[in-house]
Symmetry: C2
Subunit: 501 residues, 2 copies
């Protein structure tokens, strides 16, 4: 018992805690940049961020790290269950990171760092050709990295692993096929329908009112504002520094009533996950979402399944209306609900509605897969993008800025991330179903008492962190393995009703 424990303490304090400390610092620097300092001190900051990240890398791939890891693995019986899981997780991370030769990784990191800058310029000037050579190099790396990581069936599996452990192209192909079958016809059918009025959402809504409402929304859904905060940044995000320090951002647009509200609820869902890892794993390597998709399931569940429901607004709409009396006085709850659930095909993913959103993901999934497997080359990407947009959404982007150049992900090397966005929404539907069997969700929402909902999610989803996989958590929480039909059923039922199809 003693030997294993001692080396464990040494490993934790000497290496894992160091990595955690450096990552903590990098996060705070990022927070500082996005919510405050902005364009000030850019050079000093870039240099600091680069150094923190290379220090983490250095600690992680060191021989000392590997030696400690091996010793601990040999003495696993001496460790507590949690400690053993920490070692397992450290090994998982070490194996991933060490599979890519350090020198090659450095070149790749420099490439993506430069590519992100070029991409932004290319996007702003609508010039895909400018970005093309960078993306080609990134794709070449991704193909090579897939071999380094290894895979059974499909090279893209090796990249999905970064975000959704154990998930494969085989499963995703089925998932997206089902989505295609359901959602594409739904979108087509809605295109024939009359659209509800929603012009009242785009009047002038002062930021102070929105700020107050955003904080009230967080309180309502159960995000603990004593263990976190909401600030403002260009793009909304969540940062879990510790279970008692979870930070969210939103962006207030005075000509848009709902953008900040729903992005706040969305980040609040992520935030509630981060605030509720069990105390046993808090502050350890295991205090993280089980997967990107499961994390996204929590934000989407709060934002869409709960946050766009009639029951939720039965409680919250009077408050909204009284805040913006002049603008909303004549807008009934029913009108408001129709407006916030309106579905219209559009070009930009992050602005897409709940129904068309997964089709945007499908476009990216199929293109990424093709790029990694080599059946598509970067030169042909814009055309392929537009064809898929037309096939799934019935619209063709007039420019690459509104098309293939819109997302930051590829310039940053984030291949394999996109599927998690769609998986998350699908997980959310399945979780919602289980949640609704366990308690009267609508009653909670109508009363504005979301405590029981949060308690159920804490118990069944949040507490585990990385001690269970997303696959296990979904199965145990809902009583069956991941099943996309809950999602397609949810969308069908919701939109059939909304549009009287």
């Amino acid at each position: 018992m003693h030997y294993g424990y001692n080396i464990f303490k040494k490993f934790i304090n000497g290496k894992l805690d160091q990595i955690k400390g450096l990552e903590y610092a990098a996060s705070v620097v990022y927070w500082d940049m996005t919510t405050g300092a902005g364009g000030r001190g850019v050079k000093a900051r870039s240099s600091a961020l680069g150094i923190l990240s290379s220090k983490v890398q250095e600690l992680m791939v060191s021989e000392a790290f590997l030696n400690d890891l091996k010793t601990l693995e040999d003495n696993q019986h001496d460790l507590s269950t949690i400690d053993a899981q920490i070692i397992k997780e450290a090994r998982y991370k070490y194996d991933r990171i060490s599979k890519i030769p350090a020198e090659e990784y450095r070149t790749y990191a420099e490439l993506t760092s430069e590519a992100t800058v070029v991409w932004e310029r290319a996007k702003n000037t609508n010039d895909f050709k400018m970005f093309e050579p960078y993306l080609k190099k990134i794709v070449a790396f991704k193909r090579k990295f897939a071999d380094y990581f290894g895979y059974e069936d499909h090279p893209y599996d090796a990249h999905i692993e970064d975000f959704e452990r154990g998930m494969t192209v085989a499963v995703l192909d089925t998932f997206f096929a089902e989505l295609r079958k359901t959602v594409v016809p739904l979108v087509k059918a809605i295109a024939e329908c009359e659209q509800p009025a929603d012009d009242f959402l785009y009047l002038n809504y002062n930021a102070d009112g929105q700020r107050m409402l955003a904080n009230e929304l967080l309180q309502t859904i159960g995000f603990d504002l004593n263990a976190g905060e909401l600030k403002e940044s260009e793009h909304p995000f969540t940062m879990g520094l510790a279970i008692d320090d979870v930070r969210l951002t939103t962006h207030y647009y005075t000509d848009n009533l709902t953008s900040a509200m729903f992005s706040t609820i969305h980040e609040g869902g992520h935030g509630i996950y981060e605030q509720n890892f069990s105390s046993e794993i808090a502050g350890t390597l295991l205090a993280d979402g089980a997967s990107a998709g499961l994390h996204e399931s929590q934000s989407r569940l709060y934002e869409n399944n709960l946050g766009r429901s009639a029951s939720f607004w039965k409680h919250f709409y009077p408050k909204l209306q009284s805040t913006y009396m002049k603008q909303l006085d004549r807008v009934s709850l029913d009108l408001f609900l129709k407006a916030i659930n309106k579905s219209v095909p559009s070009f930009i993913r992050v602005e897409a509605d709940e129904l068309t959103y997964p089709l945007h993901i499908m476009v990216r999934y199929e293109l990424e897969k093709a790029l990694v497997e080599g059946s598509l080359e970067v030169e042909a990407l814009p055309k392929a993008w537009n064809e898929k947009m037309e096939a799934y959404l019935g619209i063709v982007p007039p420019t690459d800025k509104l098309g293939v150049l819109q997302d930051v992900h590829w310039s940053d090397g984030l291949f394999g991330y996109f599927p998690s966005y769609a998986l998350g929404t699908a997980y959310a539907a399945q979780i919602q179903k289980a949640l609704s069997s366990a308690l009267d969700v609508d009653k909670c929402l109508e009363k504005g008492d979301m405590g029981p909902i949060k308690a159920w999610l804490n118990e069944n989803i949040h507490q585990y962190g990385l001690t269970k996989t997303a696959v296990e958590i979904i199965e145990e929480a809902t009583g069956e393995p991941f099943n996309a039909s809950y999602y397609t059923e949810y969308l069908k039922s919701k939109y059939t009703k909304l549009y009287n199809l």
Copy 2:
């Protein structure tokens, strides 16, 4: 040329930049803590800060660091002047830090970290005995460290060096003797005088108005708000992250009109220094104040010599009055000037007025010196404190909370820092004299056009950073070596006039 340059680049990118990056991150974490996060995520943050600091230590005292240093010193002729100075500065820092055995330093760092917490508790409960054993250990370390550092005449010299290179007890004894001779009788004389009314400074002044005024004051004195910002924290401070990212804090008290105003001008003076290192040294080891005293001279010059002058308020008082019409309508400029320059002996250093302030420093200077040389033991400290307060200020603190326990410095091991506060004010007087010979300061202040003042300070003080010593800068800027009589003359003339002595 080539060899020296290459190893220099390696040293800079590989080690000095790493140290700088880690220190940058620690600063941002500290900023985040004091201006935002506060009590959230304390554990994660403490751990991160500890790790950053030990990483810096590790890099600095490494054999690799020393080897590079030696090689560069051997090839100095290959380096540019600035690069050679960077090497000299790195050597200076290395020599200081490496003189204390690493293990001992770690024990000491842990001690001071714990002692700061104990001190705070001891202060709040007015219990010196609680703090005593910690302070005893700290003093023992300081005595030992003085031997490690080495010194010619007095062991306290070894500690003053940390803040004021080359300054010694011999010089400071003379300086404080002169202060004692001038200021103690002045304070005694004023004790017999009628005090001006100042009750109007303590009415209700809303924070929004104060915030607006503080930012206007910064603009007036020439702090560049595009390359920095003003936020709020419990205790005001300045943090120079880069010349284009200098951050200040203040604290608004709604029952005190001037506290935030003068602390803002004070920090603004520090900030202007940090924003105006020459571009050649920006971002290097040399971008730092030449000494703690010279840094303080800039804050004090702006706060007191300029900021409490009649000419300054001739310009700014109408703005202040119109902001708080109700409270200041009947307060003439003359009354206001008398009130903000009122001098009354008080217990707390940070609340002391311009005249009594140096006496507070003198108390601490003499006690620190005695503690380090061993002529005073910690047990006898509270009594010695009270005796000196009575001798210099004519008052005896009724409690240790208002006496020996008031400052954080000793618990943090900051021995040798206090003299810089007084030296700074003395430097400021000498600099003011030179500045006044070079340009019409009063005219600038009255017009609210402080650009020429800032330009002169930039040229003569700020630009050099650590490329010159404070001693050199003072001498070159003012045409003679440091001479305390400018300070004593300034105080005598100012207070004789104010109180019609």
